[in-house]
Amino acid sequence: MSERSNLRLIVLGVLIVSLLGTLVARLSYLQLVAGEEYQAAAANNSTREVLTPAVRGLILDQRGRPLVANRISLVVSIDRLALDREDDEGAATVAGLAEALDITPAQITDRLLPCGQEGAAKPPICWDGSPYQPVPIATDVDPETALAIMERRSEFPSVTAQLESVREYPQPFDANMAHLLGYVGPVSQQQLDAQEDSVDPARLRSRDLIGRNGLESQYDSELRGIPGITSLAIDTAGRVTGTVGESQPVPGNYVVTHIDSRLQAVVEEELEAAVKRARSFGNDGESGAAVVVDVRTGGILAMASYPTYDPDLWVGGISTRDYDRLLESRALSSNAIQGTFPPGSTFKPITTIAAAQEGYDLGGTYDCPSDYEVGSQTFRNFESEGFGPITLQRALEVSCNTVFYRLADEMWLKGGGNAATVESPDPIADAAARFGLGQVTGVDLPGEAPGLVSGRIEKQATWEERRDNWCAEAKEGFPETRAEDVELADYFTALSKENCLDGFRWRNGDAINASIGQGDTAVTPLQMAMVYAAIANGGTLYRPHLAKAILTSSGEVVQEVLPESVGTVGDEASMAFLRDALIGVTVDGTGRSSFEGFPLDQVPVASKTGSAQVFGDVSTISWYTSFAPADDPRYAVVMMVTQGGTGSGTSGPSVRAIYEALFGVNGSSVNPKRSVLIDAAPADQLPVVRPDGTPVVPGLDDAAARLTDDSLAVRR
């Protein structure tokens, strides 16, 4: 045979070897290198998951009373995708279902339209869940109606009626707590998309409900649990060929709060009483807030906002009518953490600390004239009353503005006066920032407002933001106003021109306003509660928190939320001075009228009143800030009512009533057994949850004994 033939056979052999090598290389790549990728693809290909929803965790108060629980409800839902496939795009189904449920078809179509689509109602009425998730139309449908709907399956092919677990608000002692608890709603498509390709078993799925506000939102990942997953193997035709894996649902964790629902009920009632009191004095009494915190931990024992709403409105989706009413009443946001208001005279302790740090003698004597003149401006004392030379403590007790005006003016001058730059010292703003104002407290609730501290930096920032606007106004000269009132228009124009030119400058008038909590300074009631808690505990500023612990559904502790200090506000001596001065306010100062006859010898109360002016409002904001017992502080109580009148007249009596409930005061007698708190103190132990998930609630007879007691009288 020829050499050529041999050679070509050898070439063939080499070729075969290299082709086999190629095959082995490719095989290694597919199975060893890219194996995981293909394994995931295979799993995705051939399995379908059937979910068993996890029971959402409960939210408990500090004694284990459920604040949010679950109940089973008959829910009628519409599968939108199936509805769209019907001949008339579901018009007949909607009409028929509306009739069966005794509602209008518009109520159903409102619910069905996805948010953002043309003609859709505002969220949360419109559907902001996943398009693949059936839209709940009616909750708590009576069984007869549900049965009637399900018997007409052929008429309503896209409608389902099934038992679902829905949130329930037991409202112990009729405590409302709507702003604290929040509500749940369907998970939105954006939230689902944001998870991308997560394979976390606890990930959100299209049928999930998710916390939309309050604690439900803040602790959603704890509360939600992990659904049980049965993985079914399926073939190309979609037939189930077996079970690949099975996992039991893991119920959501329980959130134990510092809230004492019995105290909360008292606080809510007293806030409402204060608002009504304001109205009885002829004020508008629009809204209010009240906060009770444990000054030793920063735990929020009670927090109320007025007006409020019934959290049950959200269960199964809110109706258009209810939602419009809610919006109109402005009850949706919490005044305690989302509303910001000028603190008025309750700010004075902060100015005091600023002065002390600037070297002013806290024991010194200061003149309290009836007014204080700066250039052409005259700053008056409240009701133009003058007290002559008084101690700083007395100035706080009688809330003498002019003493603080002078302190502010002098500190302003020392800081550089009109020649100062934005970097020049600003002791009052610095002190306010140390007390946590102008920044969020970090409370475990969503949507907290930071408020604002009036000062050099703030003024510069505002000017930079609004300068163009001011300058434009100065140029235009307010033509609309000018048509009616030339003088007023001239005044406005001059003001805008001044602002345009040097609105950045921190003037002594600004410093004077800031010293008494006016001007641009705005705080949330919770921030003020933390300020007074810091004064009470000797200077530690705590991060306020609602959650005390996270428990599993069988009661094991997952996490205990420990007190968290975010800073110190001043030295012990200044704090002691403030405590004494604030006790004086209650004993013989602006707070005296509120605590007339209160056993201050047994339960000393430190407090400060505030009547803050709001531009455009007829009446002042009524503030009452306090802590007690002043000799061994435990609670800080803050209440405010907008358009409420004076601090002592409107809020003071309600704050007193809250202390009466806390300490078991009746008339002039103190009996800790009458306290709304069990053992007259916040719980030092975590509540017990039985292995089956039911929390141990303080004994009924125990509670009954308390209710028949005169503690009820205390609550009223």
Binding site: T22, A43, N45
Partner: protein, 404 residues
């Protein structure tokens, strides 16, 4: 010693006994009287036997899932085992065929195979997966004549190319020309039946045989150029239909292609990739049991091996095929006449290309064409043809040793 002697001695007494004992210490080649059983290349036969034996479990696993619950789950398994048994029997007969008679019968075999291919157009013809390449037989059996035509092609071309007596020089151009004509007839007919895969295998066989025959270089260059030109013209003139082109090219861009061919390719790769190092276990491969890969008992059988036996199993499979090819190459190298060498070369090209094409398509590096995996894929005719091919190799080997 003549072939006649060996034939009688084999058909006579107990083969293993008569061969083994008598010659163990005598030094085989020098004696020149080695029995058939001693001369069989077991490094060739045993891997093929292992491949077929192993294939039964994977065919069983793959086919179980296709069947409705009321069907007999061993339906395909039983038929596969029968096919293998028949195939081994055919190989045995072919391997023991008188070498001279083999040459004599070649024209008959060739004509019969052409008739067989044409019979597809008779009322007995059957069309599967777009290719009219089957004849249905009584009893539910079908045969694919083009598989047998590969045997005829190998023998026919070897006969013509080795016709010239002077073994030291290359075949005459006239012989090469007629050999190519002989190859063109079945290739053309198979192409007309839309059986691109078989046509491709036949073309590779023909090309390789011409090359190894020692034909002048211009034949090689001309064939390559002609092949490229033919492909170009076929695409340009639309002789190849769109779906055929798509099928051939979908492997180049599997993720971007949404056609059925691309889908099959992706599913096949998912199945193999899903096997990982050790596989999912027999009957446990979700891709296999869920029927995501089409015809995974025949053309895509490698996906079952890949998924259920993993990298190790697939490597053993490739290794056994490699052994068969290595021994085939050795036989071709050692053959002492051109006819034997060309037969072995044709068989080698056939098995090698089918192996590479079949595994390559399952792993997405070759276009998807209906080419079975030798000794492994389910399917009567292809199993018979594989074993006949093996029988030819053994025959050449036995003939070579007996001539040494």
């Amino acid at each position: 010693m003549s072939q006649n002697d060996s034939l009688t001695s084999m058909s006579g007494g107990g083969p293993a006994a008569s061969g083994g004992q008598g010659h163990r210490f005598l030094g085989g080649h020098a004696e020149g009287r080695l029995s058939y059983w001693r001369r069989v290349d077991w490094w060739l036969v045993v891997p093929a036997l292992l491949l077929s034996a192993g294939s039964t479990v994977f065919v069983w696993s793959a086919s179980r899932a296709d069947l409705a619950p009321e069907d007999d789950p061993q339906y395909f398994l039983v038929r596969h085992v029968i096919n293998i048994t028949i195939g081994i029997g055919l190989a045995f007969i072919v391997s023991r065929f008188n070498f001279r008679l083999l040459r004599a019968y070649t024209p008959v075999v060739y004509v019969l195979s052409i008739v067989g291919i044409l019979a597809v157009y008779s009322p007995l013809g059957l069309s599967i997966a777009g290719a009219r390449a089957w004849i249905s037989l009584p009893g539910g059996f079908t045969i694919q004549p083009s598989e047998f035509a590969k045997v005829a092609l190998v023998l026919g071309m070897a006969l013509i190319l080795a016709e010239k007596l002077d073994a030291e020089s290359e075949p005459r151009d006239r012989d090469v020309f007629w050999a190519l004509v002989l190859a063109a007839v079945p290739i053309g007919l198979v192409l007309l039946q839309n059986d691109t895969g078989t046509a491709l295998v036949m073309s590779v066989i023909a090309f390789t045989m011409v090359a190894v025959s020692g034909a002048r270089r211009r034949w090689i260059i001309g064939l390559i150029a002609g092949g490229v030109l033919a492909a170009f013209v076929a695409i340009q003139l639309g002789i190849l239909r769109d779906y055929q082109i798509l099928r051939l090219t979908s492997f180049l861009d599997p993720e971007g292609e949404s056609g059925a061919a691309a889908y099959n390719g992706i599913q096949a790769r998912i199945a193999i990739g899903n096997g990982g190092m050790f596989g999912r276990g027999l009957f446990e491969g979700p891709q296999t049991q869920g029927n995501f890969v089409p015809v995974n008992e025949s053309d895509f059988i490698f996906t079952v091996i890949g998924e259920e036996a993993g990298f190790l199993g697939a490597l053993i499979c490739i290794g056994l095929l490699g052994l068969v090819l290595w021994r085939g190459l050795r036989i071709a190298m050692n053959a002492d006449d051109l006819f034997g060498r060309l037969v072995a070369t044709g068989v080698l090209a056939w098995l090698a290309f089918q192996t590479f094409e079949n595994l390559g398509m399952a792993m997405g590096i070759m276009p998807i064409t209906g080419v079975p995996l030798p000794f492994v894929s389910y399917g009567g005719t292809s199993m018979f043809a594989s074993w006949i091919a093996l029988g030819l190799l053994v025959n050449v080997k036995v003939h070579t040793d007996s001539n040494a």
